[in-house]
């Protein structure tokens, strides 16, 4: 499933996540002539975040497609292209604009493999810059992952680092299943070295980011950085936090979380999406069932309120930050 090739020469210099995704897409276009990139403004402009910058020039209009303005059209035609053997990577310009395509995603894309009893595959990737924290206007800061993770037939992943972004986008393209690829847009410009030499972690596995002993802190996408910062701050106060980057939301790597919670006895989950019916709820339910006798505190959740994403100048109070995470950690420890 995952491209396991190792490329000579590991060092790339620090690369932003936006650029890393672009590099990964370029590799996918080079490796398989069936790979396509499509969406609003992905060609000439290189996307509003410049993730696809340069691809039109190098791969041409047949493979890098500036589509008409309609998300149902983008995903619906991508399904058709996939049925014809292509591997379309669709860009949805912002999280809040994926909903016009919801029917195509939920009723066609997610179901065609099952409906056809495996005869058809629809390896479509849907890239969505998601989440808040960039001071944007409405509909540009949403975290719709629970809608997709609740939908059978989709895989849902979110990288938190440039290196994961580079590899996971390639894994997503080569996956035989449809993949919703959530890009934490407020981390687009954070830089790190890519590791081109070693083979990547499978797309569906969580990663232990920081070992710790007292509390397990689970995050994904944009909140992984928040979790790491929280762990660092906690360490100053003598609290040892283990940080796990989920990476995949469907499937959820509950085994990895369970293994950690068995050691720490406490779990805090942090995401930007509303807490209510968010990924934290599912983790809370599963981990409580699996670790009922070893949990020292209930699973606590830190995330968005059950309100529409608020205006930019109050978003810092909506978004989980280090303080709110530590508040939950303290509560977990106080049980």
């Amino acid at each position: 499933m995952a491209p396991q090739r190792s490329v000579g020469g590991g060092a790339t210099g620090p690369v932003t996540m936006a650029r890393a995704i672009g590099m990964g897409l370029r590799r996918a276009l080079e490796d398989d002539p069936k790979t396509l990139v499509m969406g609003e403004d992905v060609g000439q402009l290189g996307g509003v975040f410049r993730v696809t910058d340069g691809l039109l020039k190098d791969f041409g209009e047949a493979r890098v497609i500036d589509t008409p303005l309609g998300e149902a059209g983008i995903i619906g035609t991508a399904v058709g292209l996939a049925l014809r053997g292509y591997r379309p990577v669709c860009e949805i310009q912002f999280d809040g604009f994926v909903y016009p395509a919801f029917d195509q995603i939920v009723s066609s894309l997610a179901k065609l493999h099952a409906r056809s009893r495996g005869r058809l595959s629809v390896p479509v990737v849907i890239r969505i810059p998601f989440g808040g924290g960039i001071g944007a206007v409405e509909h540009h800061s949403e975290s719709p992952e629970a809608y997709f993770a609740h939908t059978a037939g989709l895989r849902v992943v979110s990288p938190a680092t440039p290196n994961d972004a580079y590899w996971m986008i390639q894994q997503a393209v080569s996956s035989a299943d449809p993949v919703v690829f959530l890009e934490p847009k407020r981390r687009y410009w954070e830089k790190a070295e890519l590791d081109l030499a070693s083979s990547p972690l499978p797309m569906g596995e969580a990663r232990l980011v920081l070992p710790g002993s007292q509390v397990t802190l689970v995050a994904y996408g944009p909140t992984v950085r928040t979790a790491i910062d929280a762990a660092a701050a906690a360490r100053e106060e003598g609290i040892s936090i283990e940080v796990i980057d989920l990476r995949s939301l469907s499937p959820l790597d509950v085994d990895a979380v369970e293994a950690s919670v068995r050691r720490t006895g406490r779990l805090v989950v942090v995401h930007e999406a509303p807490v209510s019916l968010g990924l934290g709820a599912e983790l809370a339910a599963q981990i409580t069932e699996r670790c009922f006798h070893s949990l020292e505190a209930p699973v606590l959740r830190v995330g968005g309120a059950a309100v529409p994403y608020p205006p930019a100048r109050v978003e810092e109070h909506y978004l989980p930050d280090v303080d709110r995470v530590l508040h939950a950690v303290d509560r977990a420890l106080a049980y």
């Binding site: 047949a62 059209g73 995903i75 619906g76 014809r84 016009p100 005869r119 569906g204």
Partner: protein, 371 residues
């Protein structure tokens, strides 16, 4: 390839529908479209039409007996379906709604495969790749976008031009209101994709007459998107064949999309769950019965084909065999096994689902231990 020379220059044709065979079974000429078919082909259409209708009658009966969960009859629409289905080459690809049973037969889908989803043992049932006939799509209009994307794939495969192939996307009159269908029109036009949208205007979307969807004829919708629309008598198999062939040829050769409106009538209920007496006038149904698509081919052959009596008898026998095979085949279709529901959700292993399957298996096994 089944392509015929046609005088059609890609301009809009309507509101009078193209007609090459009158309800009385007489051939008429049309300035742009010719029924360029041999007698042998017409005999074939007769067979197709009769078998399609027989399948329909049989499936309706099986539903009444509780052997099928549901059946959406194509009764009355056989000419629209056989005419368009027979216009396809084996390299073309069709995207049906849920009612194109006649087209399915022309694509080599076995009647029993077709009935699997209506029996409730499957959501699909046939091989869409081998048949060039995509699975039925129940979500109104969704397939028109898939079809457009597939046509974009043909373009990328270099399959447009001489020896090109095309896509035929079916839709209903009601479907023209869905945003997805308009987006398909936008995409097809913007991409100049090799696709023909084939709208069977059967007068009704469940209980709503076409006038609830549009105040102008449906073939004219294409005008607004910059491609040609053609209206054809949907109960005239020769007219439908000629128009669809010409439209497909136009698309295959790089002319871009065409919208065909086949004016026909749903003689039966919307589905076996429906009661059309609540919303439509029996006189309307009677008027359309006089325009029956099979009667006019029979009339033509009775006049032009000396051997028709033999054909009619042979087709009747074949229909009887089909009916019998369907009856016994449906009854003996095994139900899916409980754990089948976990199959093919993903093409590659999905850890969370594997866990659910294992738990379900253990749960089922716990009963076996007991018993």
């Amino acid at each position: 390839m089944g392509q015929v020379a046609s005088a059609w220059d890609g301009t809009e044709v309507g509101p009078d529908p193209v007609q090459l065979l009158t309800p009385a079974g007489r051939r008429v000429k049309h300035p742009s479209f010719a029924a360029d078919v041999t007698l042998e082909e017409v005999r074939g259409f007769y067979r197709d039409l009769v078998l399609a209708r027989r399948l329909d009658t049989e499936a309706t009966a099986l539903q009444r007996q509780g052997e099928l969960g549901l059946w959406p009859p194509a009764l009355g629409q056989e000419a629209a379906q056989i005419g368009s289905g027979r216009a396809l080459t084996s390299a073309d690809h069709a995207f049906p709604t849920y009612r194109e049973h006649g087209v399915a037969l022309t694509r080599g889908v076995d009647a029993l495969e077709l009935l699997r989803m209506f029996r409730g043992v499957d959501h699909g049932g046939w091989d869409p790749v081998a048949t060039g006939f995509h699975l039925y799509t129940i979500v109104i209009g969704a397939q028109t976008l898939h079809a457009t994307g597939y046509a974009m794939g043909l373009q990328r495969d270099g399959r447009v031009g001489d020896d090109g192939s095309a896509v035929l996307a079916y839709l209903g009159d009601g479907a023209t209101s869905q945003g997805a269908v308009s987006e398909a029109f936008v995409w097809a036009a913007a991409m100049n994709a090799p696709i023909v949208f084939f709208c069977q205007n059967n007068g009704w979307a469940i209980s709503e007459p076409t006038s609830k969807q549009t105040r102008i004829p449906i073939y004219q919708r294409a005008r607004g998107f910059g491609f040609p629309g053609v209206r054809v008598d949907g109960n005239d198999v020769l007219g439908v064949l000629a128009v669809t062939r010409a439209a497909l040829a136009h698309a295959r050769e790089g002319g871009g999309p065409v919208l065909v409106e086949a004016v026909t009538y749903r003689m039966g209920a919307h589905t076996t769950s429906d009661d059309p007496s609540r919303y439509r006038d029996p006189d309307e149904v009677a008027a359309w019965r006089a325009r029956d698509p099979i009667d006019r081919v029979r009339a033509l052959l009775e006049r032009e084909d000396a051997a028709f009596a033999g054909l009619a008898a042979a087709v009747e026998r074949e229909a009887e065999e089909l009916a019998e095979r369907v009856r016994s085949g449906v009854r003996s279709m095994p139900d899916p096994a409980p754990l089948d529901i976990y199959d093919d959700v993903y093409a590659e292993p999905h850890a969370a689902l594997e866990r659910e399957r294992a738990e379900h298996a253990a749960y089922l096994a716990s009963f076996e231990e007991v018993s």
